[in-house]
């Protein structure tokens, strides 16, 4: 479904990704793990067209997307939950959700999707007329997830969706990911809760210094000594 082939990218003159190879198949949950500064977020930003690769190629369903602007990539069905959320903090919760729907089909289905989101996240319905910026971190994270789902993604990219959340909220985020996946949405996620993520994921990649250094099934990575030592703190 999504394929990155020797992708290089970075900011200004500084290259962060030194040739990343990564693949996500239809229906999978794929995890990307690695330490801070390894280039995980840069990879996610490059897939979504916020950054352009300087070399290599990114294809989605066999078509090249590496020179496309973000809105065209969203139209193809790739929607991201960015690490810093990037909510419309001065606007209402309802406005944020409505803004999540930008493609033709997402706009025509948005009333039903809105109802669905309010069922999935009852807190958001209670706060629909409240400014997004006034909500708690957990509520904001749920809103970011719901906003992305309003875009009817085929591939949902999650960049640290549980960052800074209390344990029971982390659980809630993982529940949502599971539910979303059951509805047939493919998931690519970056997560710091390595153990939980790898248990959920079909496959995982380990990233170090802008390169993929390991790739295996989630369970195989969970049992790998170097992964255990570096990321599971045992």
């Amino acid at each position: 479904m999504l394929e990155l082939d020797s992708v290089r990218a970075g900011y200004d003159q500084i290259e962060i990704l030194h040739g990343v190879d990564l693949r996500v198949d239809e229906g999978e949950i794929v995890a990307l793990i690695g330490s801070n500064g390894a280039g995980k977020t840069t990879t996610m930003r490059t897939i979504c067209g916020i950054l352009s690769p300087t070399a290599g190629s990114i294809t989605f369903r066999g078509e090249s997307i590496d020179d496309e602007p973000p809105h065209d990539i969203v139209r193809r069905g790739i929607v991201q939950v960015p690490e810093d959320r990037d909510l419309f903090t001065d606007m209402t919760v309802a406005d944020n959700l409505l803004l999540g729907a930008q493609t033709k089909t997402a706009i025509s289905n948005r009333e039903e999707n809105l109802t669905e989101m309010y069922e999935l996240f009852p807190r958001l319905e209670e706060r629909k007329n409240q400014r997004a910026g006034t909500m708690s971190g957990g509520e904001q994270q749920m809103l970011t997830l719901a906003r992305a789902l309003m875009g009817e993604p085929d591939l949902l990219i999650l960049d640290e969706p549980s960052i800074g959340l209390a344990p029971q909220l982390v659980e809630e985020v993982f529940d949502v990911v599971r539910e979303v996946h059951e509805q047939g949405i493919t998931v690519l996620m970056v997560e710091q809760n390595v153990q939980q993520t790898l248990r959920l994921a079909d496959r995982g990649y380990v990233m170090e210094n802008g390169r993929i250094t390991m790739s295996a099934t989630g369970t195989a990575l969970l049992e790998d000594d170097s992964v255990i030592e570096a990321y599971l703190g045992v």
Binding site: I50, H71, V74, F88, D90, M91, L99
Partner: protein
């Protein structure tokens, strides 16, 4: 009553050099105490002017709110609006009231063209770049108009007269300009708050990165906003032409006041532009009546500097577009 007038009479005696600047304020207070009829007249003039000022600031604040661009070309857009109405009226005899919507269309197109050619290529560059580029556009357009139509003042021949309401004169030209300004502001408000495009514009103004993540075509929002901002300047310029003579450089004065209004009200704020416009209009009218020469403009700049010192985010700053 008599006591107060005797105070007024004694004023020149106590006023030395400084008195020239203090006396007008004292006189103003005396007039307020006496409830002079002139105050009501000045208030009406101030509100009439303020409404139009608010409209001149609206496009400026909108463009800043969405893309953080300080658009000096706005002054040129105002002038093109004035000349469009004038040209349509003098050449094909189009009524200025139809010339104003025409100016909106002309300016929308001009705004999009200016944006695509000068702003979009450097939109990611630091702010001073767009400021200099749009200042260049201002000079080019002003000179272009000067070459085409001479630097002489022009005026739209309209004898609208005025209405009198309870001893207060309301010039029809200014009244219509105010009504057009109010109507336009309500329309823009409805566009922003009640349409999908408006929601996208507000979203892009609030968080450009977020807008890109959800799939809003941000470059398109940019040029549409620039076009709408320019169209608002066209309507403002056309309305000003209803009651004032103008030359290729009239836009500059309005531009400077528009900047003061935008800072006073809060960059990117709509209610700010409206309230700021009224405040500046009132200061200009009252100042013009009480203060010597062009001291009113000094007062406006003092207010500008004071805002930056005391409340740099402006009256309605930080609340979004």
């Amino acid at each position: 009553m008599r006591l107060v007038s005797s105070v007024a009479l004694s004023l020149p005696l106590q006023g030395g050099g400084l008195g020239r600047f203090v006396d007008p304020f004292v006189q103003f207070v005396i007039d307020v105490v006496n409830m002079e009829a002139v105050l009501l007249q000045l208030l009406v003039f101030g509100l009439l002017l303020g409404g139009v000022y608010a409209l001149t600031a609206l496009g400026l604040t909108m463009i800043f709110g969405v893309m953080d661009v300080i658009n000096f070309a706005h002054g040129a857009f105002l002038v093109v609006g004035m000349y469009t109405v004038w040209l349509a009226s003098t050449t094909v005899g189009l009524s200025p009231f139809l010339g104003i919507p025409l100016a909106a269309v002309v300016l929308f197109v001009l705004g999009v063209v200016v944006h695509v050619l000068t702003v979009e290529p450097i939109i990611e560059a630091p702010q001073q770049n767009q400021l200099i580029a749009t200042l260049g556009v201002l000079f080019i357009v002003q000179s272009g108009i000067e070459i085409l139509f001479s630097p002489d003042p022009q005026q739209v021949s309209l004898s609208l007269g005025s209405i009198e309401l309870g001893g207060v004169f309301v010039p029809r030209g200014q009244l219509y300009a105010l009504l057009i300004a109010l109507g336009t502001m309500l329309a823009v408000r409805a566009l922003l708050n009640r349409t999908d495009l408006g929601r996208r514009i507000r979203g892009t103004a609030n968080n450009r990165e977020g807008a890109r993540y959800v799939g809003i075509n941000v470059p398109r929002i940019n040029y549409l906003t620039f076009g709408i901002g320019a169209a608002l300047a066209g309507i403002a310029g056309g309305s000003i032409a209803l009651f004032q003579r103008f030359d290729p450089f009239t836009g500059e004065t309005y531009l400077i006041n528009a900047f003061v209004i935008v800072i006073l009200g809060g960059l990117g704020s709509f209610p700010g532009a409206f309230v700021g416009g009224l405040i500046i209009g009132l200061i200009q009218v009252f100042g013009g009546y009480y203060l010597p020469g062009t001291t009113a403009q000094v007062l406006i700049f003092l207010l500008f500097i004071g805002t930056l010192l005391v409340k740099p985010e402006g009256l309605f700053g930080g609340a979004g577009a």
